[in-house]
């Protein structure tokens, strides 16, 4: 595996993605909406609505909002990966790409990085802003700074990257079966359902989203990601791409 070839593929895809407004809008819009929207909501509830929220409940509320960065990590790369692979299918540019002295693995890793890097950077940037703003609006009520904390560390350093990787690999598998970007995005959107379910289970107390459980979930997801990686390697082979992909 030559990282120089991987980076050429990734940087080219990143360059093309910059030109797609729908992608950049999602990439910037979602983290900003979560990072600014939820602190504003908490600020309103604490300081303007007149409702009295006890400190014990406030922590749970902030944790719930933090989990939205996991859902973001599942949603954002779907659009990028769909364009990255189905876009090539639509433009029929995969064949010339496969004809270059680049291995299937290098192309796959380059495309994975092109979807993964902006997602992780967007999630991290959004989460940083979220933590700063949330600390600002809740520090007086709580009497201490809620962030940084271990839950957020696990979310940002383990769960969100794994979720993003899961979404990219699922998108690659889906992309091999469809022939247009819209279908790929619609099908890939299903990827975020398990994480919404996890969020609901956390909210109703079935699976509390504390540090320990987040670590367990990350471990289990890492195994799923490994399995999906093997499957996507199997799918992304030039013989398959040129003869079996739709």
């Amino acid at each position: 595996m030559r990282l120089s070839q991987v980076w050429i593929v990734a940087s080219h895809d990143l360059g093309l993605l910059r030109r797609r407004r729908s992608i950049t809008a999602g990439l910037v819009g979602f983290p900003i909406a979560v990072a600014v929207g939820f602190p504003l909501l908490v600020d309103y509830l604490l300081h303007r609505s007149g409702a009295a929220i006890p400190s014990s409940l406030l922590g749970g509320l902030i944790d719930s909002f933090s989990f939205f960065f996991v859902i973001g990590a599942a949603t954002i790369p779907v659009g990028i990966a769909s364009y990255s692979i189905v876009g090539e299918k639509v433009e029929k540019s995969l064949e010339p790409l496969l004809a270059t002295p680049t291995t299937d693995g290098e192309i796959l890793l380059g495309k994975t990085l092109a979807a993964l890097l902006p997602t992780i950077l967007a999630v991290w940037a959004g989460a940083t802003l979220f933590m700063i703003l949330m600390d600002r609006v809740t520090s007086k009520t709580l009497g201490y700074l809620y962030f940084p904390n271990w839950e957020m560390a696990v979310i940002l350093l383990a769960l969100a990257p794994l979720v993003a990787l899961f979404a990219v690999e699922a998108s690659i598998l889906i992309s091999s079966r469809v022939s247009d970007v819209r279908s790929a995005q619609q099908l890939s959107a299903l990827v975020f359902f398990p994480f919404v379910l996890l969020y609901v289970l956390g909210e109703i107390g079935v699976v509390p989203l504390d540090t320990t459980n987040l670590l367990y979930i990350s471990g289990a997801l890492a195994l799923v990601v490994l399995g999906l990686f093997a499957l996507s390697r199997e799918t992304f082979q030039r013989d398959n791409i040129l003869t079996r992909w739709q």
């Binding site: 050429i8 030109r19 004809a99 270059t100 030039r238």
Partner: protein, 346 residues
């Protein structure tokens, strides 16, 4: 050339100075003596129960333009994909530019030595022509200075240099095809595979692309051309192969014409009667005669020697001639004859 060793051959760069004494290099005897750039033996590809390419054996010499002709679905693209190591072969063997096809160790080296123009141009429409070429040049491992030089030379040759920064999506079909050919040439490959390079182009754009291929031919580039434009093959190719899952015949257009069709003389009459037909059958025997209304086609070996004899026979038989001319079958005639021929045992 030893099998398993990829060999990079020295050749002037695209658009560079042409070698001297070009007529010597294009002498068929010199071409025949040249080393093999493609050497395939029994190449076969099956998809489940379907055999797409069946035991194809062919050789292409360095500096030769070889055309693979065949109807849609004949296996031309599959053959190119196998030869370029894009898809695996089911059986058989091949060496391309000295690299063994299907040998994982040779695969990347093989792709550095060949350029491919696929059937669909497959350009990044949102990117400019320059960016498209730059991407593929970088993937081919060219250093920045060489890459810049190659891109500029190719785009200037294609008369696209002034439009290099416009998105390819805004180009006409002909311009896109030229960019795709430039992409195949950006790393200066020793062997070029062109899959239907003029398909879907208007006549003017097709001529531009054809002229460019002829320019590449003058540069002594080895070209493997897939086409179903027979006039294109006739004008460009040194040799052609006719494929219908199996390779039916290989040879120069002249060889195929002579071998399959022979020469014919066309005789057109003012009127035709049964006694005239019977008299000509006797006088022109043992030549093969074919009547098409008031027109007679006579198979001859040497038109120049035999045509006066035919004219005499016609007049002696009382026929009123309106036209007598030598007919040279086109490659199209050869192609159609082969393609519609029943397979042995069918």
């Amino acid at each position: 050339m030893r099998p398993g060793k990829c060999v990079v051959r020295s050749r002037p760069p695209v658009g560079g100075p042409r070698p001297q004494a070009l007529e010597v290099l294009f002498d068929p005897a010199v071409l025949r003596a040249g080393p093999q750039m493609i050497d395939a033996e029994g190449l076969t590809k099956t998809f489940g129960d379907l055999t797409a390419v069946d035991r194809v054996s062919l050789r292409v010499r360095e500096g030769e333009v070889f055309g693979l002709l065949g109807p849609n679905g004949a296996g031309k693209t599959t053959t190119v994909r196998m030869l370029t190591s894009l898809i695996s072969k089911s059986s058989g063997s091949a060496t391309v530019a000295g690299c063994e096809v299907g040998n994982a160790r040779d695969e990347l080296r093989l792709r550095r030595q060949i350029g491919i123009l696929p059937e669909n141009v497959g350009l990044y429409e949102a990117a400019s022509a320059y960016q498209n070429l730059e991407y593929f040049g970088r993937l081919q491992g060219l250093d920045a200075a060489t890459l810049r030089g190659n891109i500029e030379r190719l785009l200037r040759m294609m008369e696209l240099w002034e439009k290099r920064d416009l998105p390819v999506g805004s180009y006409s079909k002909g311009m896109k095809q030229k960019v795709a050919i430039a992409r195949a040439l950006v790393h200066d490959p020793v062997l070029l595979f062109l899959d239907e390079p003029t398909a879907n182009l208007d006549p003017e754009a097709a001529k531009t692309v054809r002229d460019f291929i002829l320019e590449l031919k003058r540069e002594r580039r080895t070209i493997f051309l897939n086409t179903h434009h027979l006039d294109e093959a006739e004008r460009i190719c040194d040799r052609v192969g006719i494929l219908r899952t199996r390779l039916l015949r290989v040879g120069s257009p002249e060889q195929l014409r002579a071998e399959l069709w022979g020469n014919r003389t066309l005789v057109r009459f003012a009127s035709v009667s049964e006694p005239l037909q019977a008299a000509l059958r006797d006088r022109l025997a043992p030549r093969h005669l074919e009547w098409q209304g008031r027109t007679l086609l006579v198979e001859v070996r040497d038109a120049e020697r035999e045509n006066p004899e035919i004219a005499e026979a016609v007049l002696a038989a009382g026929g009123k001639l309106t036209e007598l001319s030598a007919l040279a079958p086109s490659l199209e005639d050869v192609y159609l004859k082969l393609i519609h021929e029943k397979e042995p045992g069918a």
